[in-house]
């Protein structure tokens, strides 16, 4: 009986605690943080129309320390350089994929954000980082300030970054045949790729020296080099290689790239290459 009494008292207190804790607190009020969007400039509107709405890609050209490496000495692009650079990317990269892969192709598989940096990202070993892709979500393009529409080599280099990084994103969605790829030139991969020239690397079956980093970079380099070079330019690279084994190896890699695009995305890679070439010429000649 006594035990029951204590139980009752204890029960009462527990109930009391529960009830008290139910007492209404002050409800959260309006946020004190400033959520007002900065006023959109003509450039911002252009980005909305050409990138955000059709492709769901945001473009960040204003400096944001959270999207860049603070240990690097970089700077934001000049305002007047932003739209011309984006127009080139739009024409050669987005439009080509749109034509060959279908209207929604890039919209479905795309980086969600492009970050533009004005200057060169120089590494202490003397190499330049041209671009970065983070988790398939964000692509950072460097050297926006130096894009020159009149210069084919310059355009190719700038586009190389986005084409290369986009291949990574495609690979992250659907992997390529890594086993077959790794068997082609297993001995040539090295972290010290920058100590070799492109020509030296060509002779052992790699399309560029950076290809030698690992098979993922090799695949991205192989595909992107085919996209930034015209059919003739690409043929010239292969013609310049002395070693027949090397040419055969590069061609074997080419076949895997073509097969990947067909199997994974049902796209004709050669048609994509031709489209990119057409659009590159259109950019340079206008």
């Amino acid at each position: 009986m006594k035990i029951l009494k204590y139980n009752n008292i204890a029960g009462l207190f527990l109930l009391l605690i529960t009830l008290v804790s139910c007492g209404s607190d002050e409800q959260p009020g309006e946020s004190q943080l400033d959520y007002t969007q900065p006023e959109k400039t003509t450039l911002d509107n252009w980005i909305t129309t050409n990138y955000l709405n059709p492709y769901n890609i945001n473009v960040q050209y204003k400096w944001n320390q959270n999207t860049v490496d603070n240990n690097r000495f970089l700077f934001p692009p000049s305002l007047e350089k932003v739209q011309p650079a984006l127009e080139i990317v739009q024409k050669i990269w987005l439009d080509s994929y749109k034509t060959i892969g279908g209207t929604d192709f890039v919209k479905k598989v795309a980086p969600r954000e492009i970050v533009l940096v004005g200057g060169v990202n120089l590494n202490t070993v003397g190499t330049r980082t041209l671009g970065l892709a983070e988790g398939g979500q964000r692509v950072t393009l460097f050297e926006t300030d130096y894009v020159n529409k009149q210069n084919r080599a310059n355009i190719k280099e700038f586009l190389h970054t986005i084409q290369h990084e986009y291949i990574h994103i495609l690979n992250q969605n659907k992997p390529f045949d890594e086993k077959s790829w790794a068997a082609i030139t297993p001995a040539g991969y090295t972290a010290s790729w920058h100590l070799y020239t492109d020509e030296e690397s060509n002779e052992i079956g790699f399309i560029t020296n950076y290809s030698r980093m690992n098979i993922n970079e090799d695949f991205a380099e192989m595909a992107s080099m085919m996209l930034i070079n015209s059919k003739t330019e690409y043929a010239a690279i292969l013609n310049g290689i002395t070693s027949e084994t090397a040419v055969a190896n590069i061609k074997a890699k080419e076949a895997l790239v073509v097969k990947y695009f067909k199997d994974a995305y049902n796209m004709d890679f050669y048609a994509l290459r031709d489209e990119a070439e057409k659009n590159t010429n259109a950019v340079i000649n206008n």
């Binding site: 006594k2 035990i3 204590y6 139980n7 008292i9 204890a10 207190f13 527990l14 009391l16 605690i17 004190q32 943080l33 400033d34 900065p38 006023e39 050209y61 204003k62 400096w63 320390q65 603070n70 690097r72 000495f73 970089l74 700077f75 934001p76 692009p77 000049s78 305002l79 350089k81 004005g118 200057g119 060169v120 990202n121 120089l122 590494n123 202490t124 003397g126 330049r128 300030d145």
Partner: protein
Amino acid sequence: MKAKNILRYLVLIIISLQIGSCSSTDAEQKFDQTPTERLNAQKKELSDVLLTSEHGWKAVYFTDNTVLGGYTHLFKFAADGSVQMASDFDSDTKTYKSEYAVQTGSTVSLVFTTKNRIHLLSDSDNYPIELLRGKGYLGDFQFLYYGQENGEIIFKTNRNVQELRFVKATAEDWNNLPKHTDMEKNVVGADTRPLFRLLETNDGTAKHQFDFSFTQVTRFAEANSLETGFAMSYDMGIAYTENGIIVSPAVEVSKQKLSVFLYNATDGSFTATGTGGVTATIKYSTKPLIITEDYKTLLDGKPQMVLGYIAANLYTAPTTSNLCKTLLDKANATLPANQKISRVQIFFNSIYGNYIEYRFGGGRPSVYHNFTTSEDATNKTIILTHDSWDNGTAYIQAPAFLKELDDEFFNSKGLYIKKESFTITYSNPIWTITSATTNFRMTTYQLN
């Protein structure tokens, strides 16, 4: 323990917990506002103050005063998020427009969000010295807000948390910015000024001298004591103003910090004045700051010594003066392209006596100027006196095209001779030969 007691204690504990939890949870308020409110207030404060100065703001930015000098920037902020900016980073002192933002992160900061002049300090691909490869001029363009003091805005740089103050700019500041580039020439020093430069400090009673050297690409100067037993040096970054320079860190004399130096166009000196007779002056000297007796090893009766200027290695030596280069160029200009002066070798006490050999490229035969030596023991110079010219087999007339260059060695006040402590390309000791009357200084190897 009986179950009854357990329950008793349990109830007691529950009651005490209940009572304990009733105690006030309000922490003592150190501030009247919440952190968010305070950040918002700071953001507004900074945004507002940037717009208050009629002619905008001026910042002399020393990115790292252990290796680099200061770069003056002028800013005029507008409420629409744009900023007009000019800088003395290079000779382009025009005003450019870009965007800025006042952002809230861990603290409130000012960011220059699109490219303008201040970003020139943060270009990994444009670095003044190899040490700074990939780091540019170590500049930042995001500045954390630390409040205001005497009408100045106090910031700390984002990367290395160095203080940077924005002071109110004047209309003159904008007009005078191009003059900073002119002042740079005065800091570098004209060819017409004497060869030797020093920093002299005066603490009101005693003077100390430091040799002074300035590197233009880094805007950085080093001054080392010349007195034995007085190991003191001042290393300083330099920023240009319209009428002088600002140095950082300040030159400290008798606990007074001197940082603002005014230029004197008459003698090319820069002087900072403190109180109680304390000054620091960067000035020129016609005499070497340390006069050695190295010339004595070249006098009669000593063993043979050959001092040779080799054009391929020593034309570009920092100790080869501009006047020396000019005279070499002038003589060379009279010669065919493949027959330039390759060496000027001065033989002292050789078996053929004392002579200067002028050697040429392209098979042109050498010519020799024979001389005798004497010393000026007071001024510590060696004086060369003309004897004759020959071509190795016969006496010849003095070659007219060499006259101006050759005359420098034969000035009546003589030559200062110094065995330097550095070497160039080869391990041979370097000797410098400096005129006691002009800005002529030749760099030579000891060749025997």
